[in-house]
Symmetry: C2
């Protein structure tokens, strides 16, 4: 089946690009750097959204919607934020087109120039904190635990479907709190929600930690991240949660009266994940035959391919599998029965492998005689013939097993790719030859961080939450260090 | 409770504006003509979305996502479409800001001017049909039954929250078919889905019909609409479904090989509803005390207000209602127990009336002794005291009854506001004094339609599907007419 795709070992990047398009997930659009998310890809994103939204609501959050456009002046209000965000973004300057007097279609009407330009939101802290100003007077108005599902735009120079696109879909939580402690707790709570989602739903182990000063979100006092490892040994930042201190409250003058009657600035967090998770999902698990989807996120969990010669054969098979389909659906399994008679079974097998359907059932006329059905799993590419009677129970168990196996495989790979290194020369060698995550001592300075990046293109992914205190020396400068940090080349 | 709101009879428009803000549904933003949808309003919209999405999927549709921005030149491709849409819209001309050399924040970088400007989508036919060109080669690729949930932008001069805003949220279905018949069938199917949603979920009766040539969507051969009647006697177009013929296929050169091997242009439909439905929902049912929400769309269906003096009282009440809450939740009812001790019961009663919670339960210490609970319904503002034992069954029945009653009330009002008129002078009088829907004969010309509008501000809302053939004379020109059309002033 390798005929469909460039193999990972041949060219990982090419494999990814081909897979995204051939599996029907997404494609480039006519707009620079923007993608079209195709139905099959969007169905996976919807499953992610639904589950994340449930998890947000279970932790007390609710949704709202804020404007797409942000007045230009808002970006200048928070000094660090403007440095980080106001640069590469789409600017709306006019609000009308008119017919070209020379008949060449439509042109921008110069008379319809805006007094103040608008920016298409690259992130919404500014417009949201400008709104919260009116929502918050007293401690009784706090906390605010809002989330927004939205599109955002950043005029990236180099784009890659799902991983870095000019427009992408995401959720952005923006919370407001009466105390610093509560805001820090919220920041931590949400990075843990992301970790749980990655682990339980995407079957993707991640390392949680704090970003270094240099890699922090523009305007944050602390940025927490989840870092995943892709099969080519590169890291991918899959979600972030920011403790924003009182920076945005001060920039937009959002104060509240506390219980003692004192006026205080509000404490803030923000947190988000995006369609980038689609890229992470694809690159974490898939193989040279195509996608490998964890059952919990697969739009089709089970496909049934009938093997028949004549329409009577199909008729008999249909009668046999109809009750099975009904039972599986009743057990909450999404099933597709592919009775298209214009494609051969072999073509269908390859197609559903490419699309990452976790379980494939095949049933032919001999199976009817024997009362059997062939059960193939996508993750291991193994198959066995089972009695059709009671197979639905086995399938439900199998889906669970596949979910766990995909996670275990990713976890074992990740563990095998974490290397402790104390010598900078060795680090420089291994980051090229082995890749993956490195745990190293670092002196905590931005200068050293930048030197590592200049020498190797690797960056400090995070200072892991679960890192142990350990006395050591920075591998670059030899200065003292108290814990190891996670370093990798990253997407 | 009238103290909260301007009454409808006093100033309907003011009543609406106040209600939207005071019930916590939405508010104006810092961006011209754009609203912030607040958590309570968004929760209603989410319920609408969820149900509509289910109905779309049950009718074979799936979701996808297309770019926010559209290259300016795309608008010139379909001649009628450009006339209708390319005028008042947000234009992106630059992709970078820079620090003002004079230190006054950020300015647009003149070096970062786009070669071709982009338009923020006012609707997505052009970008989607440009994409479909690559998806469709053969009849096997058809039909395409895509829907998109998205934000869109139209630079409206006069805006009104939910009813007409520069940015709004909507869904837009865009389907592609091999035959004209199939596309027409799809157009009709979707306007019926909208009608069913309005009736069963919004408790809002609507009249389905075709738009006149003049009111048709830019680029469509036929536009079907659902028209609702608001309490002030004005019509509101709540959803549309368009048969686009081969116009967009021709504009974007989308052809397919049919079964006989012949190359044909693809047939298209598009259909959409938006956050405008929120405005319709509010204006169709609410009263001078606040929102009246149909139970199926109410974020909180039942609120329980404890009436107590001391915390021991609250404790006893909690113990009594906890099992009731559990039972209601198990039956799928969303319940809120408002044990906030900083607000008085009277304040809470008014607050939940304002927010349109369908059922309010109140329980005091005397109820504990008597084994009773007070059940108040929002739609009729009536209340009764019932035994608490088994009250959950009654509540579930009551929610259903309220849903039906709200529909019936709106239906009866609508029926009382449909007037058949044959004389133009009478029409001109009644449209001012009575308002509502008018069924009149019309000669079918745009000139007459425009005269009616110029004389009365009323427009032809639709040519109803269920209108009977009836010979008559146009009330304006006296020319022959074969059926009555629906005329009203509209939002």
């Amino acid at each position: 089946m390798g005929k469909f795709l460039t193999s990972r070992s041949e060219d990982y990047s090419q494999w990814y690009n081909e897979l995204v398009v051939k599996a029907g997930l997404a494609e480039q659009s006519a707009v620079r750097g923007c993608m079209v998310i195709k139905p099959y890809g969007y169905a996976i994103w919807e499953k992610m959204q639904r589950q994340l939204d449930n998890m947000f609501k279970e932790t007390g959050h609710y949704n709202a919607y804020f404007p797409l456009l942000i007045p230009k002046s808002f970006f200048s209000r928070e000094a660090d934020h403007v440095e980080g965000f106001a640069k590469e973004c789409a600017v709306v300057t006019h609000y009308r087109l008119k017919n070209d007097p020379n008949g060449a279609g439509v042109v921008v009407d110069p008379a319809a120039k805006l007094e103040e330009e608008y920016i298409i939101r690259p992130t919404s802290e500014t417009i949201i904190w400008n709104t919260y100003k009116n929502w918050i007077q007293s401690y009784r108005d706090l906390p605010i635990l809002c989330n927004q599902w939205a599109n955002v735009m950043r005029w990236e120079m180099r784009t890659r479907i799902f991983l870095r696109t000019a427009e992408f879909l995401w959720q952005e939580g923006h919370t407001a709190h009466a105390t610093k402690e509560e805001a820090i707790e919220e920041t931590m709570k949400m990075i843990h929600v992301y970790e749980q989602f990655a682990r339980e739903w995407m079957a993707m182990p991640v390392i949680m930690g704090h970003k270094s000063d240099n890699e922090r979100f523009a305007g944050a006092l602390d940025t927490c991240t989840i870092e995943a490892l892709m099969q080519d040994g590169k890291a991918l930042q899959a979600g972030t949660s920011h403790f924003l201190g009182q920076n945005f409250a001060k920039a937009f003058d959002v104060q509240f009266t506390d219980k003692s009657g004192k006026l205080e600035y509000v404490w803030a967090t923000s947190w988000g994940v995006s369609t980038r998770l689609m890229g992470a999902l694809i690159m974490a698990h898939s193989d040279d035959n195509g996608l490998v989807l964890p059952p919990k996120l697969a739009p089709i969990q089970v496909v049934i391919v009938p093997i028949f010669k004549k329409s009577e054969g199909l008729q008999k098979i249909s009668e046999r599998v109809d009750p099975l389909i009904a039972k599986l659906k009743a057990m909450g399994v999404s099933v597709k029965f592919d009775d298209d008679d214009t494609q051969k079974p072999g073509w269908k097998f390859a197609e559903y492998e490419l699309k990452g359907v976790p379980v494939r059932l095949a049933i032919g006329e001999r199976d009817l005689e024997n009362g059997t059905i062939e059960v193939a799993r996508r993750d291991t590419l193994t198959k066995e013939t089972l009695p059709i009677e009671g197979v639905e129970e086995k399938i439900v168990t199998l889906l669970d097993e596949i979910q766990q196996n995909i996670y275990k495989k990713a976890y074992d790979f990740r563990e095998s790719m974490i290397t402790k290194v104390d010598d900078y020369e060795e680090f420089k060698k291994l980051i090229e030859t082995k890749g993956g995550f490195f745990l190293c001592h670092w002196d905590g300075t931005t200068e050293t961080e930048e030197q590592i990046k200049a020498d190797t293109k690797a960056t400090i992914r995070c200072i892991p939450f679960d890192g142990e205190e350990e006395e050591g020396k920075c591998m670059v400068t030899g200065k003292p260090s108290h814990r190891r940090v996670l370093i990798a080349k990253a997407y």
